[in-house]
Symmetry: C2
Subunit: 596 residues, 2 copies
């Protein structure tokens, strides 16, 4: 330890008698019986320092000036505490420092955020005074976790002979994918760079370059309207390999993730991870990233109820939709009519027309729609849901996508409300065989489900021109506890197939050539078969650190309106700067943003 002899949080009984020099922040000052007690904090933890006039009157007098968050340089001796004052809640609770010297390195005003884990302040205040927010132990631990996780991943990939290679941030804007952040060029008037949404094309070019195994921990950008779990800039663990097939890559990534979990959390993840097709995930959970830490799986009762007297059910099936339900085991007593009305409002925000329900009692099914089901049908429903007295059955009857989305979200909500999710679990799951593309009715063309460079499954290749909507992708998403942790695929590496792909996506030959001609040309100069994956690092850290908000894993995050409340970015710039970039602003700047 340069500059000090010990870290505050690491001094122990065995250090008693040692002269120490410590540097850190004042967590708390207490005056008691002519003595001053200071809890001194550094990155490692807290230690108690005592100023005693019999040891040094000078130090004591200086200590009187000290307030919370002052920065101190302290010299003293480690002494044992009286048995009566031992603090068993503190790792350093057996000892204290008898201060001989004190220097105030910097003063501090009374901080607007208390430096402790439990605070009750607005997100806005936390972001405006982010440097104080980051002093809180829980935030310090999160960033230590982030460092450790990143290091574990790097070390693993280094062992596997991956080369970390950096790709450009100033790239070309392409029409596919999300909205680009643009960067105007000064040298080329009217031209723009785009910040990368991912290094996808560059990592494929690195495979064409013969690097065989590439990775990068890399910043990516999306100019989208933000949700709680999105940030305009995010970090991706980006991986690409040549010559490995899907199974090779999946096995390697499982071993990497299992290693991270073990080293960072002391938890064991059994490999191989479970797998599920996209279709199965949608059928059973209404989601392509199901949280498998609890059951409450969908029961498809379309066949059972298609001829029932309840027109909402039979009508949905007749219109090509479906009727599916979930069984909230033993929850009949927990949900009043009013509660269920609230659930109905909830599913309506996901476009469901309504929520039907039945409570299971010893005597049979109860509820407003129970009358539509005769004894036989009621029995079949009970069997289908494996239902017992006390269960609450909840149904959505609608188009298939609406059923999946609304009932899937309701399942997650109930899982949390009923406390049936084991929060200590880390459930990895591969979701496979995604559709390669899906049709956008509004725009009137197909869009790639992952990106236009994803290879079709070999057995579906022949459908690429005749029936593109039914082609499955040679792709694999890794899901952890209901979050999409990463998405990977084998890539197209032959010009002819890439051309067919662009054609299916509605590109003219000229457009395809103009946008991606250089990549297709690379395919003609000996590009090896390749595939890769990208993981969201922010999200992985969030889950491992037990946080619930992505912002807590990013040192200086943006608000929902993409502002930095600390530095007040974005901001107006000078006319001179705009002129150099050959730009005029067509709308006046608004006042600075102050909301999270």
């Amino acid at each position: 330890m340069i500059g000090r002899t010990h870290k505050c949080g690491e001094i122990r009984e065995s250090d008693i008698g040692t002269e120490v020099q410590l540097k850190g922040w004042v967590q708390k000052r207490r005056d008691l019986g002519g003595l001053i007690f200071i809890d001194l904090r550094d990155r490692s933890g807290i230690v108690q320092v005592v100023f005693n006039p019999e040891v040094s009157r000078e130090a004591l007098e200086l200590a009187e000036k000290v307030r919370s968050e002052y920065v101190l340089d302290i010299k003293g001796e480690v002494v044992g505490r009286d048995q009566s004052t031992v603090n068993p809640n503190l790792p350093t609770g057996e000892i204290e420092i008898r201060a001989t010297h004190l220097e105030i390195l910097n003063a501090a005003k009374n901080p607007p955020i208390s430096i402790s884990n439990d605070i009750d302040v607005s997100e806005e205040l936390r972001l405006k005074y982010r440097y104080l927010d980051l002093r809180r132990p829980v935030m310090q631990e999160t960033f230590k976790m982030r460092h450790r996780v990143t290091k574990l991943i790097r070390d693993f990939l280094d062992q596997e002979e991956f080369l970390e290679i950096e790709t450009p941030m100033l790239t070309k804007s392409t029409p596919e994918g999300a909205r680009d952040y643009l960067v105007p060029s000064r040298v080329h008037p009217g031209s723009f760079y785009a910040l990368p949404q991912s290094p996808q094309i560059f990592k494929q070019l690195l495979m064409a370059s013969g690097f065989e195994r590439y990775y990068q921990v890399v910043r990516c950008f999306r100019d989208e309207d933000l949700r709680a779990d999105r940030q305009p800039e995010f970090t991706q663990v980006d991986i690409e390999t040549s010559f490995l097939d899907k199974e090779d890559l999946i096995a390697m990534m499982e071993s990497m993730m299992a290693n991270v979990l073990k080293e960072a959390k002391g938890e064991t993840a059994e490999t191989p991870f479970p797998r599920m097709t996209y279709q199965e995930a949608m059928d059973r959970y209404g989601s392509d990233k199901p949280d498998t830490r609890f059951g409450m799986e969908f029961v498809d009762v379309s066949e059972l109820v298609k001829e029932s007297d309840f027109k909402v059910f039979s009508g949905a099936v007749a219109n090509g939709g479906a009727v599916k339900g979930i069984n909230a085991k033993g929850a009949a007593g927990n949900y009043s009519r009013k509660d269920i009305d609230a659930l109905t409002d909830f599913v309506k925000t996901y476009k469901a027309k309504g929520l039907a329900w039945l409570k299971v009692e010893e005597e049979g099914l109860k509820g407003p729609i129970a009358k539509f089901f005769n004894d036989e049908l009621a029995g079949s429903l009970k069997t289908a849901f494996n239902a017992e007295a006390g269960d609450l059955l909840l149904f959505v009857a609608d188009s298939k996508p609406v059923v999946a989305d609304s009932l899937g979200t309701l399942r997650l909500k109930l899982g949390k409300e009923l406390g049936v999710i084991d929060e200590s679990k880390f459930n990895f799951l591969w979701v496979m065989d995604f559709p390669l593309m899906s049709y956008d009715e509004e725009v009137g063309r197909y869009f790639a489900e992952h990106h236009p460079f994803t290879s079709p499954l070999k057995e579906d290749m022949h459908l690429l021109e005749s029936d593109p909507g039914s082609v499955r992708a040679n792709a694999y998403d890794l899901v952890l506890n209901g979050y999409e942790l990463g998405g990977g695929s084998q890539r197209i590496y032959q010009r002819e197939i890439q051309e067919k792909m662009f054609k299916a996506l509605g590109f003219t030959e000229e457009q395809a050539k103009e946008e991606f001609g250089f990549l297709m040309e690379a395919f003609e100069y000996g590009t090896p078969p390749h595939g890769g994956i990208a993981f969201g690092l922010d999200r992985l850290v969030m889950l491992l650190a037990g946080r619930t908000n992505l912002r807590d894993t990013i040192a200086f995050p943006k608000t929902a309106s993409a502002s930095d409340l600390l530095t007040e970015a974005p901001s107006a710039v000078s006319q001179e700067q705009l002129k150099e970039l050959h730009l005029e602003v067509t709308k006046k700047p608004e006042k600075a943003d102050t909301k999270a």
Copy 2:
């Protein structure tokens, strides 16, 4: 090895008899006596594969279709070569692969760049077909070196308990420093983010956050007109520490660099590294980043010649300038009058009015200006330069900055031309005690020499208001072989001093508050004393890999006009994109750039 059993370049005599599966690129095909020989290349190197009709006629027939850069999957047996065909230049030269199976994974057109170290093609072609250029062994080695160097640095800093923490790319534009790349905000019309020139402010805020030791390998951006050793985006090893003083940090960084040199190059760098003040570096070498691998130091003869009859010399001194010279030992014979005329033209591009010279002969000094110096003065000059017969003395008489710049550059040019630079050396040097700021006559104010957050030397602090130009910075640049490898300093951490600094730089109180108010506010909430350094990773890799161009250390670099010739960025974007960003372009895009 998944997907194959061996790497091409690693098969040895001890593998004879082994069945192998290899994947790679065709370096060369030769047909000889009914057999086909293919040199197969992967990241590890090259191995010879033989197709023999007696082993597999099928494989042989397929091999006939194979051309350079085809991608192959080969199975076969390792066999020893006849003594007569052993290739001692190849690590795999004792063996070859007798192929039993061949699969063509991808075909290749004839590449426009040969995949070998010695190529004679334009930089433009190399950048347009960068993925082929990167296949060349020397480029592969450079990126392996880059990976290794980065890993060594990360491991060292991890050991020293630094946390890698990511800082934003979408930041606030500030008026100091180089020109920012701007990113228009869609959500906040007329507002812009700036891409960071360095994470300087954020790393200081991380010190205010109590992280104590931070590092990041981070992309930085400068929108400047480019020289050969500049790129619009570059990578920095960014480091900041709390509580360490200058000497602590310097010692730690020396140990890091010595470790990199040892592990990456097998070379030993003696610590502590030599040091020199800025003033001494300018006096002796005319440069703040002197190449100390050779001598040819400046000799200041101003005093000697101030009263000489040669008016160019005496006049320069009378005008407050200086007369300095260098001694090109034994080079009198190498430089004809015409050659010296060329050197004169060279120094003129650095604003020198001319170049005076003297050749030292047994009989005395010779040359057009020799007549101005009497025997005594000639003797004094010889002594000053430690000159012997055969030496060439070259002089610039001009203002001090012009003397430094022109003669310093001439020294480097002569050092190369005369072959006196030991290219195997790695000469580290700290340059210390830079001026804190310098006055820009044109703009009429002081500018920070490093940046406005650099602390003055304690002993010069009192001059900050009265004589800012004479204040020395508590700063330290690390120089390697004449390149500035990194710059560091202790930072200001007290509001009062930071305010004085901004005032000295011509900021009004309001401007300082508007631009950097959040940082000065952080200083008031317990910011510890801190300091740090940043190293140019591209440049470090360039020097360690023995390359002479920064572009060779960056996978996808930009040209001098900041274009990417491969993907053709920057490019025009749609009107819709501009409209969303509330922008109009005032100048039409030009045709795409095709020059390096």
